[in-house]
Amino acid sequence: MARDKGTHWVITANRTDDGAPVYVGASDAWTLSLAESRTTVDDDEKDALLAAAATQERVVCDPYAFRVVLGGNGTAQATTARERIRGTGPTTPLRRDDAPTPTPS
């Protein structure tokens, strides 16, 4: 596991239905956006959120906590390549754009 240099905890998991990375957000609802995640410096609060997440298996799988730093506007920012990519998606092209179907020569 990467050693991150963060200052605040965020709880994350993968959505059971489609595997999308989600984060515990305001009022404990899950959000797809790391920037909207709820951050805490309190270890007990982190543990409580993690425990709560573990009871929601219909919604999420394998919750864990990781550390972030707060950006200029106070929102969470990843400190590792892994969580950055996890938050923003693959950095590579996915399906090639097809040219119009070629006519047989």
Binding site: R3, D17, D18, G19, R58, D62, A81, R96, T101
Partner: protein, 552 residues
């Protein structure tokens, strides 16, 4: 290829139904995720960085066009319109939804396909030579034995919870192993023994990953009839004695090393003696039943080919394609055409649904309706008349499938890496793409000659970085991606494990490092014909190290 009998068909259908039930119970809570995880893994369903990933089995890499079209349809209907071919001849979808997977398995079952045991601590897909059945240097077609192993290992009730995953590979070309058998848990070579009897030489304990090992010969000769009982004996010893205390020490290679090959082979022999004459003994009729399904197709007479002319012709792309992408075929007038999935600007090994449809059409027209996946993440049209090569090239080129770089630097093996994989430490695909971008001049690539570049995003080595001429291993340096460079690996008969040259390179320096390696090779090779591997073995690591770390 093997056509399912009713019992084969029923097995895959019942498996799909079983998984449908398991998904329902996961969603209604009667099965917790920790209980569900091994079940979904045994159906090839991973949880990755952004989504689930479904790995569909392609036994020994062989596909018919009906299957290819179904794979295209699945990409379109259930995924994002594309798929990825793996280093074990399988195919992966990166974006399936959990509740669609049972339907995907049903649709696969309709075309005699499945995702059985493509993950989990069980016996995985048995892989083979991508030129099986057509290679000129083949002693005997290994595919019937791969199919026998597949059936024996599928839902084997005793070996569903092994200490760790288990991978078997078979080659029928003892003089030129294209299946990397020396780097598998069990590797099988078809051989003629000293008495001239045909059978199997069985190797054990090879592997890559954290601790690469070259396999050792467990038994020099196993008769046809004894293949499955001998493999079963190995599995039983491993199941009982493989380590279960540490995930990173649980592969059979660790056990073989700890016991020593003599003691290990003796333990296998002791077990084998008990079961050699059991129901596992292969009757001639059973072997023939399978063999006949791989009988050579009707080869229409091939006219004169004009390959020599094409090499000199005005279509330079075609000339390079003829030079680099064809492989010798046992039938005169025929050739095996390698289809590169490593074009510039695309992730290596990826293919879109429309490309798959085009490949099916091309295979139907020009290659007897079959396609083979290579463990190098490319494809083969195995039965093409030489006189059709120009037409095939033209069709492939319409779909970005005609890149003439097979066996050259830009034909790299590359794992999904940190863009996709939960296990990764660094990204691998952008690196492969950058290298393709930088080194795309075909004349330069041909001058470099055969070079294998293999890129892994983590120590698990799915990109085979230990066995490349040039290997790259992505690491995590305090949350930042960095890359180690290895040189001198080889997966074949001259098996060797690559050596790390020195300190890791930053992401913005690794491609320059590759350039430096190539420069050292070019400067030191004894002639234009001395390939990279031979130069490295002759001059050693030192000149490369010196050039790479000159400033340090």
């Amino acid at each position: 290829m093997y056509n399912y009998e009713p019992q084969d068909q029923r097995i895959v259908e019942e498996r799909a139904a079983q998984f449908r039930g398991q998904v329902q119970r996961r969603l209604d809570g009667s099965v917790i995720e920790n209980e569900f995880k091994p079940l979904r893994l045994q159906n090839g369903l991973y949880m990755q960085l952004h989504a689930y990933m479904l790995r569909v089995a392609i036994p020994y890499g062989l596909l018919n066009t009906k299957q290819v079209r179904r794979l295209a349809h699945i990409a379109r209907k259930y995924d994002r319109g594309y798929a990825h071919f793996t280093t074990r001849q399988n195919i992966q979808y990166n974006w399936p939804q959990l509740q669609d997977v049972p339907a995907i398995l049903d649709e696969l079952a309709e075309v005699q396909m499945h995702a059985i045991q493509t993950s989990g601590n069980c016996i995985r897909n048995t892989t083979s030579d991508h030129l099986a059945g057509v290679a000129q240097d083949e002693l005997e077609d290994p595919r019937p034995y791969c199919e026998l192993i597949r059936q024996w290992s599928t839902f084997h009730p005793e070996f569903a919870f092994l200490p760790r995953k288990f991978k078997i590979a078979v080659t029928g070309a003892p003089a030129h192993d294209r299946a990397a058998i020396r780097f598998h848990d069990i590797g099988v070579r078809i051989v003629d023994n000293a008495a001239g009897e045909r059978g199997f030489e069985v190797w054990v304990g090879g592997g890559l990953g954290r601790t690469p090992h070259i396999a050792k010969i467990c038994r020099e000769y196993v008769a046809y009839a004894d293949l499955l009982s001998y493999l079963e004996a190995i599995m039983r010893v491993y199941n009982r004695q493989g380590r279960r205390d540490n995930k990173y020490k649980a592969r059979i290679k660790i056990l073989v090393n700890a016991m020593g090959i003599e003691a290990f082979a003796a333990a296998v022999d002791a077990e084998w003696a008990e079961i050699k004459d059991s129901a596992l003994k292969l009757e001639r009729s059973e072997i023939d039943r399978i063999r006949v399904q791989f009988a050579a197709p009707e080869y229409a007479p091939a006219g004169d080919d004009n390959l020599a002319g094409l090499l000199l012709g005005s279509n330079r792309e075609l000339a390079h394609f003829v030079r680099n992408n064809l492989r010798p075929h046992k039938v005169p007038g025929y050739t095996a055409v390698m289809v590169s999935l490593k074009p510039k600007g695309r992730p290596p090994g990826d293919v879109s649904d429309t490309q798959l449809e085009a490949l099916a059409d091309i295979a139907d027209t020009f290659s007897q309706g079959e396609l083979v996946v290579t463990h190098g993440q490319n494809l083969v049209l195995p039965n093409v008349r030489k006189q059709d090569v120009a037409a095939v090239h033209a069709k492939l080129s319409e779909w970005e499938l005609g890149t003439p770089n097979i066996g050259h630097l830009t034909d790299s093996i590359c794992c999904p890496g940190l863009d996709f994989c939960n296990l990764a430490n660094a990204r691998s695909i952008p690196l492969a793409m950058e290298i393709n971008e930088r080194f795309d001049a075909i004349d330069y690539l041909e001058d470099l000659g055969p070079i294998s570049l293999k890129i892994s995003g983590c120590i698990n080595a799915c990109g085979h970085h230990h066995v490349g001429d040039i290997g790259i291993l992505g690491i995590d340096k305090l949350g930042v991606e960095a890359y180690q460079l290895l040189l001198g690996g080889s997966p074949g008969d001259d098996a060797s494990i690559g050596s790390i040259v020195g300190q890791a390179f930053d992401a913005d320096k690794i491609v320059d490092a590759v350039q430096t390696v190539l420069d050292v090779y070019l400067a030191n090779r004894s002639s234009a014909d001395e390939r990279f591997r031979d130069t490295y073995r002759r001059i050693g690591k030192a000149p490369f190290k010196k050039a790479l770390y000159a400033d340090h």
